[in-house]
């Protein structure tokens, strides 16, 4: 269980990183916290010709707050968010989610950008940031672009990123004063991969009631207007099971009664759990 041979580069800036990624001679993988990539290398599930270590690029560590929200560089760790070492614009929602990611040792090194780019369906940030309405900021040789977090992942371990692009940062919107956020993760034991995640954001001032069914077999199911699912008020936990089940069926999750059950329960409990920040 040792990795096959690979080359290693640690560029000093974004341009250098994407140049390496676009080199074309070798299949290159971006290394951030390495908490998923490391084991995959050891298990020889991936055989990159080159690792591009982005942890020494200053822009990727940036943390910028403005009136609209917060920009977190891709290499900000889960632990930094958990510990409140970055500003909070979500009434504690991000810190709460961060604290539930895997184990502290993973959170110490694992990064928000790395988690998104890895696009494991069980990842917490994909579901959480889709519910919160965050944007993923992307850097590439053709310039910068942004996509909604809800549309960033395209499949299992697949995203909208081109091979020579990388996640530069995440823009987190500042939630309104009366915003409430619920997040419920089902996993077999502490720190284990999620089997189901429910996330609900309710912002009455902005008439936002968004629900996300995460940790599916593929991309999270984002319901932009979930008022129908919850009959308006989510915190009762009463959901339209038939409607939610249809969403799962469309994802091909309807066949397994167990998976369907725990996803519905996770969503209902996320709704019950919506807390005033």
């Amino acid at each position: 269980m040792k990795p096959a041979r690979f080359d290693y580069e640690r560029p000093a800036d974004l341009a250098g990183a994407v140049a390496l990624l676009g080199d074309g001679d070798a299949f290159a993988k971006v290394l951030a916290g390495g908490q998923s990539l490391g084991p995959m290398l050891n298990l020889r599930l991936v055989h990159p010709g080159m690792l591009v270590d982005i942890t020494r690029i200053p822009e990727l560590a940036r943390v910028e707050e403005d009136a609209d929200g917060l920009v977190l560089g891709a290499c900000v760790t889960h632990a930094a968010i958990e510990d409140g070492r970055v500003p909070d614009v979500t009434g504690g929602a991000l810190a709460r989610v961060a604290a539930g990611i895997a184990y502290r040792a993973v959170r110490n090194r694992g990064t928000i950008g790395g988690s998104l780019a890895h696009a494991d369906p069980a990842a917490d940030w994909l579901t959480c940031l889709a519910a919160i309405g965050a944007e993923v900021m992307i850097y590439g040789p053709r310039g910068r672009r942004s996509v909604a977090a809800a549309g960033f992942m395209t499949g299992v371990f697949e995203t909208v990123l081109a091979p020579d692009e990388l996640v530069e940062a995440v823009r987190i919107p500042r939630l309104s004063a009366r915003a409430r956020f619920g997040f419920y993760k089902v996993c077999r034991k502490t720190g284990e991969f999620a089997e189901a995640i429910g996330a609900v954001l309710h912002e009455p001032e902005r008439a936002v009631l968004r629900a996300v069914i995460g940790a599916t077999d593929s991309t999270p199911i984002v319901v932009g207007d979930a008022s129908g699912l919850f009959d308006g008020e989510p915190s009762t936990g009463r959901i339209d099971r038939a409607a939610a089940a249809r969403l799962l069926d469309e994802k091909g999750l309807g066949g397994d009664g167990f998976a369907k059950q725990i996803h519905l329960v996770a969503l209902a409990r996320a709704a019950i759990g919506v807390q005033r920040p």
């Binding site: 040792k2 298990l43 077999r188 034991k189 284990e192 167990f258 059950q261 725990i262």
Partner: protein, 781 residues
């Protein structure tokens, strides 16, 4: 009792180096010229090997069975009539019978390069039908793991009785099927081997993470065709065993052969994927049991059929049948009932061999027996603990010979259970159940009572006729010139704390400070022969042997000391590590100083053997000590998600006289944590093609600290009448009770839904399936 002797809560001596990260494990050993080894392992469960192609450039770095001429296969036979023998070549020869079986060994400067080489070797397989389920394996027409046998059964045993006569009169009759999942033992440190040929001594030196260095030496000698004197096996610090390191590994044979033939030392360190997908497993049992009882639940008879999936090969030395044979003899548990019938099958399948894991067969046995008792209690309409109290062997009946002639040495089983009932407060749980939980979960309480035969010796093992029969245990003891003590034992400590507890025994006899006692163990070159560390035997056997050796030393010390004090041996006593006479005293250092440096001062009739002895020990009866325990679990079951939370866990146990109660606490806590793993998390599933479906700890779930509740532990101390200090073997017990106690608690919680779980682990999926099945049957009250 002395202050640091038997019964003292002494801090473990060995922990200083462990806690500072200064232990030396196999992977820490560096030898000049050492090369790393990786194995090419079979990706398929059952196939003929048509061809192995090694690239021209890799010749000399890759070896197959064809190269290892003269190496004999591993054969672990049993003398029981009808046992069919498997031959396990260290590298597959002609055929593979499990995923992970080794086909070629690759040698390189680093492990990564050795793994690179392994990917370049091509094997042409002719795949064969696979048998991956033990019940299917028993059926006629199943694919044959070992063609010459004609079936897939290593051994079939029968304990017969006239059950039918009882059945006709029994008011209660319950039948259940139980299954316990296949598990991996997952010690912190996996297996590891470093081997080199010592040209000066003409000796193969093998460093191995093993529980039984002497047995491994015998196995290596047999397979490699070497005299025992040409093999030295050293177990350095070892990070947990649990039975996983009680085996002669084919890897050890391969590395021994490489060291003898390649001219440089070699190393193999098992990685977690090998551990999970290729190496030996444990625990997989199936039971079909009918219990007959009177209307109050008093057991009248038990009729059982048990199957153990022993995998593709019989492992050395315990063999493929030990587990099922144990099932037959211990299934009746701590209960007193007259009629017992049991048929067992040790079955071969296209899966890795199984080994005895902490608790050996008892964890499965306890699960089956304790769940059937609860089923009987439900039929009788009584509290399960009350039915148990009516069936347990009574204190006044001790010592007691049970229905399978197990000789329970001492104890008060009903009192143990009563204390657990009181500690967990059954009445309060019942009240809580009536009240209901605010979060909608369902609460339940469950019990498990068991007794555990340990340190069982010659009379038990001789009948099984496996490659290893324990006899007398020996210890060497030597007083050093400065008055310290060296102990040499053939058992091995890999977490048990023997460096401390055996020093406490020495302190009890000689009064020497445990800090001045050095334990030498884990090295066939330095210690007396022993079958090693297994079966919770060390404290009874090695403890007894160390006491015997120290006692003999004491006699010699006293004689020399009396001379120094210018009196007669009869006038002095040994106290606090000093020879004391009415007029003064001398220490061990004074005595040692005379023996080693001033022999002119020795008495004329001194024992010329000096201050060094080897003494042997066997308990008065070698049928084993029986520690016992009652486990009680209170669980909360989330019926929407199927999740089980342990909200209270009580252990009341009796290990006889506890040599170091703090170490026993640790053993019980650790064992219980493993038992919780068996109950709720751990499972190594295989598909119909024999593919292991868990290859990392993300798939094979072990409980972590957050999953283990604050276990409330209470001790009873009923001495064994047969051992040196009254101590009993206690190391395994914690792992036996939890699956049964937790399953009974879950079934109690779900009782009014009509749901009942009879399989480990109790996963959310199984809980929801059981609830759904009950709803389908319309069982809910």
């Amino acid at each position: 009792m002395t202050e640091k002797g038997v019964g003292a809560r002494l801090v473990r001596k060995e922990d200083d180096r462990y806690m500072r990260g200064r232990g030396e494990f196999v992977a820490d050993i560096k030898l000049p010229g050492l090369k790393d080894v990786a194995f090419l392992r079979s990706p398929v469960a059952h196939a003929r090997i048509l061809d192995i192609e090694v690239p021209e450039a890799r010749r000399g770095a890759v070896f197959t069975a064809a190269d290892m001429t003269g190496v004999r296969p591993i054969r672990a036979v049993s003398g029981l009539p009808g046992f069919k023998t498997s031959e396990q070549p260290p590298l597959a020869s002609g055929k593979v019978r499990q995923v992970g079986e080794m086909i070629a060994v690759c040698v390189a400067d680093t492990r990564a390069e050795a793994e690179d080489i392994a990917t370049e070797v091509f094997v042409d397989f002719d795949e064969l039908p696979v048998v991956s389920d033990m019940l299917a394996a028993r059926e006629a027409g199943a694919p044959l793991v070992h063609e010459a046998w004609g079936d897939n059964v290593y051994l079939e045993t029968t304990v017969d009785a006239d059950v039918e006569a009882v059945a006709a009169t029994a008011a209660i009759r319950v039948t259940r099927e139980f299954r316990t999942a296949r598990q991996c033992m997952a010690p912190l440190e996996g297996r590891g081997v470093v081997a080199h040929w010592d040209a000066r001594l003409e000796q193969l030196v093998v460093y191995s993470a093993t529980q039984m260095p002497h047995i491994v030496r015998s196995g290596l000698s047999e397979c490699l065709g070497l005299d025992h004197g040409q093999v030295r096996v050293v177990a350095p610090d070892v990070g947990g065993g649990f039975g996983y390191k009680g085996i002669l590994l084919p890897e050890e044979v391969c590395l021994g052969w490489l060291a003898m033939n390649c001219g440089h030392p070699v190393r193999w360190i098992e990685d977690r994927r090998e551990h999970l997908t290729a190496s030996a497993n444990c625990r997989e049992h199936h039971y079909r049991i009918t219990a007959y009882a009177d209307a109050r639940g008093r057991l009248l008879a038990l009729d059982a059929e048990a199957t153990v999936d022993a995998g593709a090969y019989s492992s050395y030395p315990f063999s493929a049948c030990l587990e099922a044979v144990q099932v037959a003899s211990i299934l009746p548990g701590p209960y007193d009932f007259p009629v017992y019938r049991c048929k067992t099958y040790s079955v071969a399948s296209n899966k890795p061999p199984i080994l005895p894991y902490r608790g050996v067969a008892r964890t499965g046995v306890c699960f089956a027996m304790e769940l059937i008792i609860d089923a009987v209690a439900r039929e009788a309409g009584r509290e399960p603990h009350e039915v148990r109290l009516d069936n347990l062997v009574a204190a006044e009946a001790m010592p007691f010979d049970n229905v399978t002639d197990k000789h329970f040495d001492s104890g008060d089983y009903p009192e143990c259970l009563r204390r657990a009932v009181a500690a967990v407060d059954v009445a309060a749980v019942r009240q809580r159940q009536r009240r209901g939980e605010a979060d909608g979960r369902r609460v339940g309480v469950g019990f498990a009572v068991f007794c555990e035969q340990a340190a069982h010796g010659t009379s038990v093992y001789a009948g099984w006729g496996i490659p290893m029969v324990p006899g007398y245990e020996q210890a060497g003891a030597r007083i050093t010139p400065d008055g310290g003590l060296e102990l040499r034992v053939g058992v091995h400590s890999h977490g048990q704390g023997l460096e401390t507890t055996l020093a406490q025994v020495a302190n009890e006899v000689l009064g020497i400070d445990p800090d001045k006692v050095k334990l030498v163990h884990g090295d066939t070159g330095l210690t007396p022969y022993s079958t090693g560390t297994w079966g919770s035997r060390c404290m009874v056997m090695a403890g007894g042997a160390v006491a015997a050796a120290c006692r003999e030393l004491a006699g010699r010390v006293v004689k020399i000391g009396a001379r120094l004090l210018q009196t007669e041996a009869g006038e002095v006593r040994l106290e606090g590590g000093r020879v004391v006479a009415p007029g003064g005293s001398v220490g061990l250092a004074d005595v040692a100083n005379v023996w080693y440096l001033h022999p002119q001062d020795l008495p004329d009739d001194v024992d010329p053997a000096g201050l060094e002895v080897t003494a042997g020990y066997k308990p008065e009866r070698d049928s084993g000590t029986f520690s016992y325990a009652a486990h009680a679990a209170v669980v909360a079951v989330d019926t929407e998600l199927g999740a089980v939370e342990i909200v209270d866990y009580v252990v009341v146990e009796d290990g006889g006289v506890l040599v170091n109660p703090m170490i026993v606490d640790g053993q019980v806590y650790g064992g219980t944590a493993q038992g919780i793993g068996t109950a709720l998390y751990e499972e190594m599933p295989f598909d119909a093609e024999g593919q292991p479906l868990a290859s990392t700890f993300a798939d094979y779930l072990l409980p972590g600290a957050p999953e283990i509740p604050a276990i409330r532990l209470y001790h009873m101390e009923t001495p064994s009448p047969y051992t040196e200090f009254g101590q009993k073997g206690i190391g395994e017990g914690g792992a036996i009770g939890p699956p049964a106690a937790i399953a009974n608690a879950v079934n109690d919680a779900l009782g009014d839904l009509g749901a009942e779980l009879c399989e480990t682990p109790i996963t959310p999926r199984r809980v929801l399936a059981a609830i759904a099945a009950a709803r389908g049957r319309g069982d809910a009250e």
